[in-house]
């Protein structure tokens, strides 16, 4: 025990020491060159192969030998604006301007700026970084051969119509937008969250022999562990199937443990969650036609970390996180423990409780484990019915199912009262940890079977079996239970509690190459604040 404490202490110290090492200052940005080709290639270099960046090279109407380039990001700009306020005037309207012929070279840009661009907001940018920042915020950059300055024309405009709050992953506090079915809109939503040219959106050959579905992978260069990217690409290229209709197809074709009940690939419907996963060093996979994006590698603890934890203050979030673990425990083990306690180890139940349980069981025809299995199955039926029905009907289905049926079954003496309570608690708890809800439902039945034969010993053996199984799992090379097993004390702080943001200095060692998240200090008010009052 002492050893653990000292280890914990040492790891704390190490983190603090590392935190004081100053990060290298931001590399200064070079100025633009006067040659268009060079500028373009430099910008392309910065964006690498991101598919959502558009490069449009053209010649303005007044001089067909002159070269110009437009750079913008699909989805962030309103293409109508780009066409009408930039391309159209430059290509068709400017040549009609007679003054142009008398214009000197040096003033060409000024001239264009003044009379050819019917756009209300327009800036000049001289450095590469300014241009890129502008492009990322939704402007269109206009580069003209021979000028070391770029024009940033405001063409912001993005899809807002089809975006609605997703049904899964609802939040009380936090962004309410969810991905749409169109991949172009989704990439733009992601770009708006992460305005950084290092966010790479790479396209792979369209997947699916017949469907030719667009699949992008997203990651942040410099944060992501390059191994994941190559591995994801490798696995995606191996896919050979007639159609990809949902990201679930891809998930099942590239996952590490197809025979396991545990998911080794995560999915999300929300851009902010995807952004936060990318910031941790994960790789995202976007598929056209579905709002669900995949994230890899997926660790089990992610099921217990909700994005909202980080949006609200740490104390309540910590409590909620603990409750999620309790809910997992209840949802998976409660019926099994009930069965094994009441059928195998009634000596553990306090006498008064035992008497009332025995009273409730008088006259119930089935043994407890049959009751538990039947109720478990009935619960799944009601859940499924409630989900598939249109919402108003679904509600009445669940009311009829839970209230009327349960009450009647108890009255008729088919099912004992405590079992209804157990199943109800279990059912509610199973909605708390949604990402692995299906694995939990399977485990629940498995444990009831274990308990029905061997009591607590059976449950123990079941737990050990599942434990070993989970410990064997890896997601893209990362142990599934990391950082709990293998234990990493330094990273345990984000597992059971939700640490304050200013103390989350590092990213996970296994996930990311660049471990420093940021170095904000613990906020404190200025010392002389009081003086202002008097």
């Amino acid at each position: 025990m002492l050893k653990i404490l000292t280890q914990l202490w040492n790891s704390k110290k190490k983190i603090n020491r590392k935190a004081r090492i100053p990060e290298a200052a931001l590399s200064e940005s070079p100025n633009l060159d006067s040659q268009l080709a060079k500028n373009l290639s430099q910008i392309k270099e910065r964006f690498k192969d991101s598919v959502d960046v558009a490069y449009r090279e053209f010649s303005p109407g007044f001089d067909l030998n002159k070269k110009a380039g437009l750079i913008y990001i699909y989805g962030l700009v309103n293409s109508e604006l780009t066409n009408n306020t930039i391309l159209k005037p430059l290509m068709f309207e400017l040549p009609k301007n007679k003054e142009l012929e008398t214009m000197e070279q040096g003033n060409l840009l000024e001239k264009i700026k003044r009379c050819a661009l019917p756009n209300s907001n327009l800036r000049e940018a001289a450095t590469l970084q300014d241009v890129i920042t502008g492009i990322l915020s939704g402007d269109t950059a206009l580069l003209l051969d021979g000028f070391p300055t770029a024009l940033l024309i405001e063409t912001k405009g993005w899809e807002t119509m089809g975006i609605k709050e997703p049904d899964t992953e609802a939040v009380v506090r936090g962004p309410r937008e969810g991905f749409t079915e169109t991949i172009g809109v989704n990439t733009a939503m992601l770009r708006r969250k992460i305005k950084n040219e290092k966010l790479r959106l790479e396209s792979l050959n369209s997947l699916g022999r017949q469907t030719k579905t667009l699949v992008y992978i997203a990651y942040i260069e410099g944060i992501v562990n390059e191994k994941f990217v190559t591995e994801v690409k490798k696995r995606l290229q191996r896919i050979d199937i007639d159609g990809i209709l949902e990201s679930g197809y891809i998930e099942q074709l590239i996952e590490d443990a197809p025979t396991s009940i545990f998911p080794t690939i995560g999915n999300t419907e929300k851009p902010d969650i995807l952004a936060s996963k990318l910031l941790e060093g994960r790789v995202g996979i976007l598929v056209d036609g579905t709002p669900f994006a995949l994230t890899v590698p997926y660790l089990l603890i992610e099921a217990f970390q909700s994005a909202e934890d980080y949006y609200s203050r740490p104390y309540y979030s910590t409590l909620i996180r603990m409750i999620r673990y309790v809910a997992l425990f209840i949802s998976v083990l409660f019926p099994a423990l009930y069965v094994s306690l009441q059928s195998f180890h009634p000596e553990m139940i306090p006498t008064s409780l035992l008497i009332s349980m025995a009273g409730a069981r008088e006259g119930v025809p089935f043994p407890a484990y049959i009751e538990a299995l039947v109720m478990g199955v009935v619960f799944e039926i009601m859940r499924e019915a409630g989900v598939r029905m249109p919402r108003p009907i679904g509600q009445s289905v669940s009311i009829v199912g839970s209230l009327v049926l349960g009450e009647a079954a108890v009255r008729a003496g088919f099912i004992s009262n405590p079992m209804v309570i157990v199943v109800a608690i279990t059912a509610i708890a199973s909605f708390v940890v949604t990402p692995i809800a299906d694995a939990m439902a399977l485990m629940r039945l498995f444990f009831v079977l274990c308990a029905s034969n061997l009591g607590l010993f059976g449950v123990l053996m079941g737990i050990l079996f599942i434990d070993i199984h989970v410990m064997k799992l890896r997601s893209f090379g990362i142990p599934y239970l990391y950082p709990v097993a293998p234990m990493n004390f330094g990273e345990l702080n984000d597992v059971f509690i939700r640490p304050p943001l200013w103390s989350r200095i590092f990213r996970s060692r296994l996930l990311s190459q660049n471990r420093v998240r940021g170095r904000s200090l613990k906020p404190s008010p200025p010392k002389n604040q009081r003086n202002e009052e008097s």
């Binding site: 195998f344 006498t351 025995a358 498995f446 274990c450």
Partner: protein
């Protein structure tokens, strides 16, 4: 390949679970009879007779829930007999129809006849069976144990729970001893000391209802009942055993001897100190008593330092008298080391103990015992003494 093996393995385990749905240790709650108390007697035919209180869960349901009305008894009492305890236990199946479930047994009552013949044979099964707990209380009774098990409670639906609460709170009165299976086995196994077990009895109340009470204690030589201690002697025993937690000490007023004063014992502490002086063993029993003034029947002014000192001395003497009475009874009447002197010697002077070990039976009655009582009085309650106007 790897995956296939995993699946095969899973199926293998699952099928074992499904196919072997034997019901080895499974007992459904509606198939067991929960025993609450058990009495052990020896019948006239020299057979072991067991009487057991079985809880009727149906009778304990609240009436709104389809349960019976409040008048029905919460327990069912059945008897069984056999040559051994185990056989008698198994013979319950002749009548019970359900498997008896023992872990929630609160009390074991041993009848006088068995107690006189030896209790070890009677409790062996309770120690050996994994279902029984070592903390089950064991009491002896004068007469038949079945009488006690048959006894009713005016308050609780399960008489055994009533009894259990009385036993748990024995040290509030300190008139009897609470002994569980572990204590008894310990007392029987340790060489020098002998067992003292609480006594439970039954009497008729004013209304003619039966009442079960816990008072006095039985003294055992090895595992055989020898005689009884009265309530004051029992408290003497508890003082020495460091088991007094509460109780009342009655003293006469100094000025008006026919009026009495009650002192409420708050806490006490005692230890036995063996000493070797000139080759002979001497014992000092040191008892600390702290109490409050609980009641005063006379009108004398007691609430001053002088009177408190006097009362403290008197309290000390009263306690000493109780202890000395017990010591005399142990040394002269029973000639049995129920005080734990031998054990104290064994722990403190192991070398000396080896010498006297074999003649301890003869040596104990001659042992010199000194009793020191440190007595203390703390509070006097909400009022001072009342002086009636002349």
């Amino acid at each position: 390949m790897k995956g296939k093996r995993g699946v095969a393995f899973l199926l293998c385990i699952l099928s074992i679970f499904l196919l072997t749905t034997g019901c080895w240790d499974r007992k459904e709650l509606d198939q067991v009879a929960i025993a609450a108390a058990i009495g052990i007697d020896k019948g006239a035919d020299q057979k072991i007779q067991l009487t057991v209180q079985i809880i009727k869960p149906g009778a304990l349901k609240s009436p709104s829930d389809g349960g019976s009305s409040g008048t029905e008894k919460g327990v069912w009492i059945i008897k069984s007999s056999g040559d051994t305890v185990f056989e008698a236990v198994k013979n319950f199946r002749e009548k019970s129809g359900r498997q008896l479930f023992w872990p929630h047994t609160k009390v074991i009552v041993i009848g006088e006849k068995i107690a006189k013949e030896g209790i070890l044979p009677a409790i062996d099964w309770f120690l050996r069976d994994p279902d029984m707990r070592l903390r089950t209380y064991v009491l002896v009774t004068q007469g038949e144990a079945s009488e006690i098990i048959n006894g009713d409670s005016g308050l609780e639906k399960i008489p055994a729970s009533h009894l259990e609460r009385m036993i748990k709170d024995y040290d509030i009165l300190s008139k009897s001893v609470a002994t569980n299976l572990m204590d008894i086995t310990n007392m029987l196994l340790s060489h020098p000391s002998h067992a003292v077990i609480g006594r439970v009895g039954k009497s008729k109340s004013v209304q003619g209802e039966e009442e079960v009470f816990l008072r006095e204690a039985g003294v055992f030589r090895k595992d055989k009942l020898l005689g009884w201690l009265n309530p004051l002697e029992t408290r003497g025993y508890l003082w020495i055993q460091n088991k007094v937690k509460g109780g009342v000490i009655i003293l006469p007023c100094t000025e008006e001897p026919n009026q009495l004063i009650s002192l409420e014992i708050l806490k006490s502490k005692s230890k036995i100190i063996p000493k070797l002086e000139n080759g002979t063993l001497k014992y000092t029993i040191e008892v600390d008593v702290t109490s409050n003034l609980g009641e005063q029947m006379g009108t004398e002014n007691l609430i001053n330092p002088e009177m408190f000192t006097v009362l403290e001395t008197e309290q000390g003497q009263a306690v000493e008298k109780e202890i000395v009475t017990l010591i005399q009874k142990a040394q002269e009447d029973y000639k049995l080391d129920i005080l734990g002197l031998g054990e104290a010697t064994l722990r403190e002077l192991p070398q000396e103990w080896k010498k006297v070990k074999d003649q301890w039976e003869e040596k104990f009655p001659q042992a010199q015992i000194e009793v020191i009582v440190n007595s203390k009085l703390l509070h006097s309650g909400m009022v001072d003494s009342f002086k009636l106007p002349n």
